[in-house]
Amino acid sequence: MQQIVPPYLLDRIAHAAGPRFPLAAEAARRALLREPPARLGIEPLHDLPSLLPDVPSSPDRRISDAEGRESLPGRLVRREGERATGDDAVDDAYDGLGDTHRMFDRVFGRDSIDGAGMPLEATVHFGDRYDNAFWDGERMVFGDGDGEIFRGFTDSLSVIGHELAHGVTEHTAKLRYQGQSGALNEHVSDAFGALVEQYSLGQDAGAASWLIGEGIFTDQVQGRALRSMLEPGTAYDDDVLGRDPQPGHMRDYIETSDDNGGVHLNSGIPNRAFALAAVELGGFAWEHVGRVWYDVLTSGRLPIDADFDRFAAETVRSARERYGADSGEERAIARGWAAVGIELPAPEA
């Protein structure tokens, strides 16, 4: 067979095309196998890391349709393995849950929300022009948006990942949804939502947008997304919506009784620490900061009412445990926290 695609490109596709183009990545890998490794200048396949981003996982997805009402779960319209329905909200939710399941499974070895393969349930078309998506303790629920500010909430993979990550937090660290621990709960969902998107795109930390909810605003809104993890406060600036109010530093921390104590606002502070550390380390964020954050969530050491300082200290501790004292990972993470005004005590020797 004639080889048209040059080996360096095949190599890139095989490594980075990711689950977005699993067939392309698989084909590229097979094509590479046919080439003698010496000519390619790369290691033969069996030396590649075992966690390749495009190995399929086995989710058990169930998508229901609330048909414009606010009752749950609604009518079951697509089960695992069933073909696309032609309803974009249903099919986007199905695909997004698949991408999210794959990242948790392949990268962190976690099969579904509970780590034991529990079904991933979602309801779409919730309510009448409903401007929201949420996790109700059992399922992810997505509104269609009002069509003026928000288009549907299933249009963004980071939003789907965000909602599913609320389920993971509920089954692991159980961060209380109030004040700083609530903002950390939000942060964890944003962080894993961003990682799901980056993983599906095969994107490294430098190339990633670090935006949450890109594409859920209509064209009438002056804004790119709901939030920017890297530059909180810059996601939108619009006549109707006003300006993105997220702080990116402790000096701007917002005390408020709204929104369970500003959980969607103050999450900007840990979000920026996470994104800065990821960008400093470079490469795929799920391979370093993602692992550290997952370790913290599942360590059993994080109190449910942890504040930012405690969470930050746990990330540095987990980075030391995984990568060694004074490792690049530990230093980058500590610098990320310092940049948002969270100084950590020097680690005990």
Partner: protein, 108 residues
């Protein structure tokens, strides 16, 4: 009396506020009846659900009406049923929301 509904939270964390002057409504008597039906002291705190809306509903008096008629309650979206829901629907039907920045009280 003024009825002020503010909705905060949600995935987007955007705050909307609706403000109605009851005495300017053609059916103000019905409003007062509805407001009396609401069990103001009752909504028990519910464990918050991630990304759901939070509603704060206030009835504020102008001038010299008896103070017992002022009300203030915070409800999870799931608790917005019965007369609560009816009042919020009515308020949202009669007026356009204002989008307000969060009340900012920096601590550090």
């Amino acid at each position: 009396m003024d009825v002020i509904v503010s909705r905060s939270g949600g995935l987007a964390g955007l705050r909307l506020t609706w403000h109605v002057r009851v005495d300017d409504q053609p059916d103000s008597d019905d409003w007062y009846v509805l407001i009396e039906q609401i069990p103001w002291s009752e909504p028990p705190p519910l464990p918050p659900e991630p990304d759901r809306f939070v509603y704060r509903i206030r009835c504020e008096l102008q001038d010299s009406a008896p103070a017992s008629r002022a009300h203030d309650a915070t409800l999870a979206e799931r608790q917005l049923t019965g007369p609560w829901r009816k009042l919020v629907d009515l308020v949202q039907d009669r007026t356009e929301p204002e989008r307000a920045a969060p009340t900012r009280r920096p601590t550090r």
